[in-house]
Symmetry: C2
Subunit: 128 residues, 2 copies
Amino acid sequence: MKTLPQISEAEFEVMKVVWKYAPISTNEITDYLVKTTSWNPKTIQTLIKRLVTKGALTYEKHSRVFVYTPLVDKDEYIGQESSSFLNRFYDGDISAMLSAYIDHDKLSDSEINTLRSLLTKDPKKGGA
Amino acid sequence: MKTLPQISEAEFEVMKVVWKYAPISTNEITDYLVKTTSWNPKTIQTLIKRLVTKGALTYEKHSRVFVYTPLVDKDEYIGQESSSFLNRFYDGDISAMLSAYIDHDKLSDSEINTLRSLLTKDPKKGGA
DNA sequence: ACTTAAATATTACGGTTGTAATAAAATTAT
DNA sequence: ATAATTTTATTACAACCGTAATATTTAAGT
């Protein structure tokens, strides 16, 4: 498996926007994040640039503007981070993790039910 | 809620040892981690020191040696990290997260069953 | 009391991150 | 063509991190 680039927390916020709206220009990314964060546009520029350097984003020039597309797949990235999280914090024991969420986050009955139905679905259907 | 100190990934490995064996001396921590990691003892010293500075550990002097005890609660820390992870990566949607684990990590039937039974336990019993 | 050994403390150093400011290049308007 | 504006590129800088090395303090032996 190819190794995905290291994406910092702030950079990840940028990635989320690009994943959602790509292809998207610098200004569009900036407009969006200026509204949803407390970041200065200059900061957002820097984050975008770093993501390009890291190989997480690529772009096409449309005359003066750059229009970005993700180079890393969202599900793959999140899946990898999730596995790594599970290993570091719960030694890979997913039951231990779920237990901790149930205790710590005090899941409501309806959340519990949703989870249960998730686990009850016939895995034969829906598979690849 | 009091804010827990920021603990880095390498520091967290040290914390795990202290959580497990506290009260524990510098040398005991070092011996343990030298075996389970590729770290130089000096590196481990540094990590311990930083954890003290950050308020994650405290110690008692027993003549020349320091004997450490955690100042942050393991479950509390992990719970907080877990909530934060869930929010950042899954927008707080625990079903989405579990779904992703099921898909990405290809959970076995027995794992699925364990999870299901976890969710089926009567929450009335065992509560505080 | 001195020397030695063991433990702790201080210093180092490059990479990453958060957070921008300044500089340069490219377009657009005049 | 120039000037003004917009976009991108370069530079900055401190905190945090991984990874130690060196220095100092303190206890133990002799």
